[in-house]
């Protein structure tokens, strides 16, 4: 599933009342099945870009087209459904739900699409990220790296057509970092899933045939950083 961002502009109003442009992207696209590493400094708008691509954040202007469908024109409920069925998202901060076990977190990711949750697939994916023996652990009982692996399994469990990953290996140690990358890349390759992975390390970026620097196509990337808590870094 291809991803096309066209004339995207996104700005926030700072506490001082000034407008701060985070994204100003004339054009950016990924072909179907393509795997791209997106590199950018902290606060350069990487997460905002992924949120815009996922339909979580609506751009002030411009269009986002996923698989030939312009999601920026969709009504919100339709976009939610589209996201739940087509787009996988690995959050930088994992975003696991504390009340749910690892398995339930993965099942939850499948619950909002029209397809019934596939428990067998969820267990298999958790096994593949090395958590086969931690299915019923809550996030608080897992290490930071294990939580990130659950987050990856959750994103893949939806069998998405577009996978967006925000620093998926940032909190994972060396061997597990490699395993997660391989899992994501292999799964995407096997299923012809488009992968856009944000990273700040050259070690991760080097494993991708296409590496894009956000600053090279985001005309607002030189602006100052916004607070992390606003979720717009």
């Amino acid at each position: 599933m291809s991803l096309i961002l066209n004339q995207i502009r996104k700005a926030y109003v700072t506490p001082t009342g000034a407008e701060q442009v985070i994204l100003d992207i004339p054009a950016f696209s990924l072909d179907q099945g393509e795997q791209v590493a997106l590199v950018g400094t902290s606060g350069s708008g990487k997460t905002t870009l992924l949120n815009v691509a996922a339909g979580i954040t609506t751009p002030d202007s411009g269009t986002v087209t996923v698989g030939g469908v312009e999601i920026t024109r969709m009504l919100e409920p339709v976009r939610d459904r589209f996201r739940s069925e087509r787009i996988g998202y690995v959050f930088q901060t994992f975003n696991l739900l504390g009340a749910f076990t690892a398995l339930e977190n993965v099942l939850l990711g499948m619950s909002f699409s029209s397809q019934p949750a596939n428990r067998h697939l969820a267990i298999e994916l958790l096994g593949r990220v090395g958590l086969g023996d931690r299915l019923h652990y809550r996030p608080s009982q897992l290490s930071v790296g294990q939580q990130q692996r659950v987050s990856v399994a959750r994103a893949l469990a939806k069998t998405p057509r577009l996978l967006l990953a925000d620093e998926p290996t940032a909190n994972v140690d060396g061997p597990n970092q490699q395993a997660i990358l391989e899992l994501m890349q292999t799964t995407c390759r096997e299923n012809n899933v488009t992968l856009l992975l944000v990273t700040h390390t050259s070690e991760v970026a080097s494993q991708f045939s296409r590496v894009e620097r956000l600053a090279s196509f985001n005309q607002a990337a030189t602006s100052t950083s916004t607070p992390y808590s606003m979720g717009v870094n």
Partner: protein, 449 residues
Amino acid sequence: MSIFQIAWKSLSQRSLASFLTGLSVALGVMLMVAVMILYGVIASTFQQSSIGYDLVVGPKGSPLQLVLSSIYRVSPPIENLPFRFYKDLQKDPRVEQAIPIALGDTTEEGSFPIVGTIPEYFSIPFANNREFAVRGTFLRKPFDAVIGAKVAATNGWKEGSQFRMIHGGADTGHVHDEKFTVVGILAPTGTPNDRSVFVNLDGFYQIQGHDKPFDEAIKREREFYGLAPLEPEALAEEVRKLEKRYGGHDHHNHAPGEEHFHDVPMIQKEVTAILVTTKTLMAAGLMEGEFKKGFKAQATNPIRPMNQLLTDILGNIRVLLMVLTGLIIVVSGVGIFVSIYSSLQERRREIAIMRALGARRETIFGIIITESLLLCLLGGIAGLILGHLLVLGAAPVVTARTGILINGFAFQPMEWLLLPALAILGVIVGYIPAVSAYRTDVASNLNPS
């Protein structure tokens, strides 16, 4: 995962707050259920035990007191009627059966009310088509006694047990020497009969002090029938005549407790009330009206004063209690609102995550409403169970004090309305938090604060 599972998980995560808010609903419902059951049982008992008789005839006074004393045995008797009045009433062609009862004494053990009556008392159904059943026999000999099931259970009396009674109730402290023998134990009736002790009226009059002295009996009878009091000499003459006719009798010639029998002159006998069944319902109405015009006695339909008591006093108390318990439930509902609404601030990120995973706003709305519904309904179900348990726990105390048998498992029709009402409450109190959750902005709440 279903909305239900997600809502349940959220509640589990805040288990203490969820438990406490659910408990507050449960306690409110428990009280409401207890009020409904107890009122229902009391209402049905009061109405049921009155059904056997068409009229209760007694001295002038409060009809409610007459019914409460003669049928429910929870109020002191008003006064007495001459036995002659009972005999005259018995001859009324409209009367099918007239059962005299004499009240006022209690058992020495357990202070159960003594009912002096005739064997025919047990021939009238104690409730709608429900006949008395007895283990042993009904009253036959003068010093026979038949006891209610509650009396037997409390005092441990069996057939052959003997007992004495306290004159005029436990307060006077005077214990009669004469002993009565238990010949029958009634099967439970769920009426005040269960905590009553029935003694043969013939034996009742044999007891020292129960047969009025001649001079007093003459005065009372003349007063009752509206005749002028006799001059002292004329009264003494009347007493002499009666002594000559009946030979006089002194209980002090007998050893204490010795069973003896002699016919008591009618003038010395009094009854507390007369339970009447009439040949037609119209006759009962006519007789009631006739008594109203006279000055001697009153006749009342036993159901009417009780219905009045139930609707005018108990009914209003019930409404008040229902309103109060209803308010408790509403306050509990407010507690649920506060609990969910305040938790939303901590759960914005959780909601944003679900939205980012593809949950629609309506799904989030549904999750919050489901949480509210779960708290209300689970609290309500727990309250229903607790309410019945409370009644079960209170039943022995209520039965001991009133003789009313209470079935803690008795289900009141209004209980069916509780859960739908709680569901509505759940939707109402969950609505504002649900709308707030519905409006949660995803991007700004996605990252940890």
